[in-house]
Structures are given as C-alpha cells and as structure tokens.
C-alpha cells in the first residue's frame, strides 16, 4: 500500500487514463470540452513556466507573450505559407524557442526583480507589436486559421491535444529527473556553487529559457488551432499573472502542482462567470488565502498526507534545538 503512494508511476498512469476518458465522460458538450482544452493549454504552459521558475529559479512574468508568439506562428505559417499541420505545430515551438533564446541571452546576466521587469516588458510588448505589425499579423482584427481536414472535427482534434499534453508531461518529467533538471535545481539553489561544481551557468540558464519557451509555444499553437483565430487580445499581462498564480498555488517545483493550479485557475473563472464583477475578487482571495495558509501550494496537502510521520520527528528535533539556542543554550546551563 505504501509503495503505491510513494511510487509516482501509477499516478501518472491514472492521470493519462483520466485524460483519455474525459471526452467520453462529458459526452459531446462543447462547453465542457472547450474548458478541458483550456486546462490542457494552461497546464502545458504552467509546467513550462514551472521548469523556469520552480526548478530554475528564474522569474518570468511575461510567459503570455510566448503563448501569443506560438499562436501567431501557427496562424501565419498556415495561412500565409500554407504549411501542413504536422510541420507547423513543431515549428511553433521552434520559433517560440528562438524568441526565448533572444530573451534568455540578456536574462543570463539578470536576476530577481530585474529579470521580472524584463520579462514583464516582453509580455507587454508582444500584443503591442502584434497590434501594429499589420502586414504580418492582421493588426487589430487578428488572423483566422483553419485546421487540416482530417482534424476539422473538434472531437478528433481533442485527441491531438490530449496526446500532446501527455507527451509533454512525460518529456518535462524526464527533463526534471535528468542531468539537465539537476543542473537547473543547482542553479536555483546557488549560482556560485553550481558554477564551482562545473555547471556552465550561462548555457544552462539560456537553455532553460529556450526549453520553457518551446513548450509554451506549442501550447500557444494548440490554442490557435483550437480556437481557429488569433488576435492581440488573446493573452495579456493578466494571463501572465494568472500563470504565475497557477504554479505558486499548485506548488512550486512540482509538475502535478502546476497541473492542479492550471485546473483551478481555468475552472474557477468559469464557475464565477455568473457573478459579474466578482471573478477577480474571488481569484484574488483564493490566491491570498492559499499563500497565507498553504505557503507550499496545494500539492503540500498531498505530501503532508504521504510522509506524515518522519517529517514530524524531524520537526520536533529541530524545535528542541532551536528553543535551546533561544534561551541561552549552554550559557544558561552554566548559570552565566
């Protein structure tokens, strides 16, 4: 029984199963399917962002910009160049990855708030550029795009989205567990120490941005194909804030956490849609409440449940040690 809880594979498998079964469960309801698609798009983006922030420690408040780039890449390549779907979708990732490289290069030298502002500027600039580059992006009216014939039906396309989501979860899971992921965590913990152990910090930091942008671009591409239309208003800075909220609420540096966050932040606005004007307040209260009372994110509920006993012991020991120090420790014993 205990092994079932500690081993992640069955959980991953269950998740995949749930994803596959979902369209059957909800039947043909277009509304629920479109919510589900948005969950997938945001889950991919949140995981990619988590790789950057949670594992790599590089703050980005402009990831919605990468989503827009992905969406526009798909639209432009399909309508202007007429490239086939199977080529366009990976290309949306590649082109966004190249943009990520351009952002990552100056970001290598920055950290903390400075990086936050640069990425924020990127997230703000992309919609403005899209709005003003009429000849390429269609300006204010946006760009329509058509899915290929063999995917024109929504219930067919949803399997592409599910497949991509599962594959990306699997790839990111492996990246995190690999040499690459360990290097990212080392950089997050201490750049100096990482450098001293022989990690090429600038290279890995840039790589982090490129990988994160790549997967976000694919998510943006999927979104573009699903809606069949891209416009400058699709992803604003507000989306970037929400993405940041997702990974913190779900739990930083945890792939299931990012998925949980994506689900919550996609479903919550839908649930509160009927209460006009209250959506922002409710999302805000949820964010504030979870950070105040569950600072490690919702995923910590699960972890607490999983390894309850050993962690409690460690805590007790630490407490004794601390209180000893606080009250004077050895000095008090000696009656000084």
């Amino acid at each position: 029984m205990k092994q079932l809880f500690t081993n992640r594979k069955p959980w991953l498998f269950l998740l995949v199963l749930l994803f596959l079964a979902y369209p059957f469960i909800v039947g043909q309801s277009v509304y629920l399917i479109s919510i589900f698609v948005m969950v997938c798009v945001y889950a991919i983006t949140a995981m990619a962002l988590d790789l950057l922030i949670g594992f790599g420690g590089q703050v980005s408040i402009g990831h919605a910009g990468f989503l827009s780039v992905g969406g526009y890449t798909v639209a432009i390549l399909t309508t202007k160049l007429g490239l086939p779907f199977l080529l366009v979708l990976p290309l949306s990732g590649v082109i966004t990855g190249i943009i990520g490289l351009l952002i990552g290069l100056p970001a290598v030298r920055l950290s903390g708030n400075f990086l936050a502002v640069v990425s924020l500027g990127f997230g703000l600039s992309i919609p403005q550029i899209a709005l003003n580059w009429d000849s390429l992006t269609g300006g204010y009216s946006g760009l329509p795009l058509a899915r290929p014939e063999w995917l024109s039906n929504d219930s067919q396309f949803i399997y592409v989205i599910i497949l991509m989501t599962v594959v990306i979860i699997w790839i990111l899971h492996n990246i995190v567990k690999s040499r690459l992921g360990r290097a990212f965590v080392a950089i997050r913990e201490s750049e100096v120490a990482a450098q001293a152990t022989g990690i090429n910090v600038p290279l890995y930091k840039t790589l982090m941005f490129v990988i994160s942008a790549f997967f976000t671009g694919i998510a943006g591409g999927l979104y573009g194909y699903w809606i069949g239309f891209v416009s400058p208003n699709d992803f604003s800075v507000f989306t970037s804030f929400l993405l940041l909220g997702m990974i913190v609420i779900g739990g930083l540096a945890s792939i299931p956490g990012a998925i949980i966050g994506a689900i919550i932040f996609t479903v919550l606005p839908e649930l509160t849609k009927s209460l006009i004007g209250l959506t922002n307040i409710i999302i805000g209260i949820a964010i504030v409440g979870i950070i105040l009372f569950r600072p490690n994110g919702l995923i910590s509920l699960l972890e607490m449940f999983r390894i309850k006993k050993p962690s409690k012991k460690v805590m007790d020991e630490q407490e004794v040690y601390l209180s000893d120090l606080e009250q004077g420790g050895a000095a008090r014993d000696a009656n000084v």
Partner: protein, 288 residues
C-alpha cells in the same frame, strides 16, 4: 524642448509611484505589485471627499493621504506581516492577489466608467522660455522634488531612516539592536502607500479616474525603479524621469502605440550593460 519638458512632468508621476515602490522594497524587500491599485483606491477616496462632501482640493488630498497611511498599515498587518520571511515569489504572487482583489472591489464600488478628476491648480499654461507649462505641472514637479529630498534626508540623517536601513539589511540583527522592526515596516508601508496615493492623484486628471487607471503607470514606474537600481531613492526618481522623457520622445518621433515596446527595449539594453541598474551599486553574493 516642449516634448522633453512634458516628458519630465509625466516622469515626475512615474518617479512618485516608483519612490513608494522602492521605499517599500528597500525596507521590507517586497516588490509590491498591488501598489498601483492601492494608489487607485486612495484616489477614489479623495474623489469621494471632493465630489460628495464638497471639500476643497487640499483638504481632500490631506484626508486621502491620511486614509492611505491607515490603508498601508492595514495591508501590512493583515497580510504582508505573515509572509515576511516567506520566499520572494510567494510575496510577489500575494501582492498580485491583492491587486486583483482591490481592482475588483473598486470596480464593484465605483464602476468601470472613467470619470474626470480635477487638477490641483487651474489656470492657463504660461510661457517659460520656449516651453508652455501650467501651474498644475509646476506643482507636480515641485512636489516630486520636495518629497524626494525629504525622503533622502530622512533615510540619511534620522533615527527612523537608520532603522529602515538596518531592518532591510538584517531583520534579526536589527531587532537585537533594539529596533522595532515591525513598526519600521509598518511605517514603510504607510508612507509608501501615501506616496502612491499622491502619484494617483497626479495621474487621475490626465488619464481619467477608473479602476484600471494605474495599471500602465505602475508598470512604467516599476520599470523606472528597476532602471534606477530598485534600491536607491534618487535612482527611482531619475529612472522615472528617464523613462518619462524617453516615452514622450518615442511617441512623438516613432509612434505612440509603440512607446511601451521601446521603453522596455531601452531597459533591456541598460540592464544588459549594467545588470544592477544605474544606481544599483555592486552586486555581492553573501551566502553560497
């Protein structure tokens, strides 16, 4: 000349907002993303005093600033105090949550319809050398300069300023030295919010009063603060001014829609050359 002058005037508003941001960051190490929304609420309060109760401008300004002081303390005590030692990202996301709550509440209470907001001083613009300038604009510039000087002196020469500087360096050590850290932080939040409120009241006549009026101002103020190093009060003011002038030049010579793109391009270039900002000082890694 005229373009640079009006850029400087708008830069002063950015500088005021940036000053509050930096003040809070310098003492408590929290980058407050809800700053603009708190300023917006303060401005709405002053508008209520002005229009509903018919107070004169300066009285409404004073009362609103009083409200801002209390508002800052309430936010600090109720929310920010609990996450004082939490990771920075948690604090940032928390302020984003506050941002959404304040924005939603203001929308609920006052609606999203923009309303006009009076200026501090009326009167036609007059000619000064080769530029046109109005009394209100002079008031804005003067206020910014006075406040900047005041805070610079406060930080440098008073006990409270010393406490703020000490608390920002090491919370525990300054507590052991007898500084009431939570009191100092409370003060920083109160004053920072009041500064934001002043910036809000200077912005409102230009952009009209609405719950979303401070969004862009805050982002540009943040950019200006970062440009100045995010840790230095004169840096915040100069960063704000640079951004204001640059933005105005871009909107005149290139295109008004692209000003944000170019502003951030400028910041990327500056930060690439000097990653710690113009007045940031050397970056030292204390702990490995």
């Amino acid at each position: 000349m005229q373009i640079i002058a009006s850029g400087l005037i708008f830069g002063c508003i950015y500088a005021l907002a940036a000053l509050g941001l930096v003040l809070i960051f310098k003492t408590t190490e929290v980058a407050n993303f809800a700053h603009g929304e708190m300023a917006m609420i303060t401005t709405f309060i002053s508008y209520v005093f002005l229009s509903k109760y018919g107070f004169p401008y300066l009285a409404a300004l004073g009362l609103a600033l009083l409200f801002a002081l209390v508002f800052g303390i309430v936010v600090y005590v109720l929310v920010m105090k609990r996450v004082q030692s939490a990771p920075h990202l948690n604090q940032v996301v928390l302020t984003l949550g506050l941002f959404m709550i304040f924005n939603g509440l203001a929308g609920l209470k006052w609606g999203y319809q923009p309303t006009s907001f009076p200026e501090a001083f009326h009167g036609d613009p007059f000619k000064l050398g080769s530029i046109f300038i109005s009394t209100n604009e002079i008031f804005t510039v003067g206020l910014t300069l006075v406040l900047m000087l005041l805070f610079f002196l406060l930080f440098r020469f008073t006990k409270a300023g010393l406490g703020m500087r000490a608390a920002s360096q090491d919370i525990m050590a300054s507590e052991l030295m007898g500084i009431k850290v939570s009191g100092v932080f409370m003060g920083a939040w109160a004053i920072g919010t009041a500064l934001g409120g002043i910036a809000g009241m200077m912005t409102a006549p230009v952009t009209f009063l609405s719950p979303n009026m401070m969004g862009e101002v805050l982002i540009i103020a943040f950019a200006g603060a970062v440009l100045g190093g995010f840790n230095s009060l004169p840096g915040a003011v100069i960063g704000g001014l640079i951004v204001g002038v640059f933005e105005n030049l871009v909107s005149y010579y290139v295109a008004p829609e692209l000003k944000i793109v170019f502003t951030f391009l400028l910041i990327v270039v500056v930060l690439y050359i000097r990653p710690q900002g113009i007045f940031g000082g050397a970056k030292i890694v204390k702990k490995v």
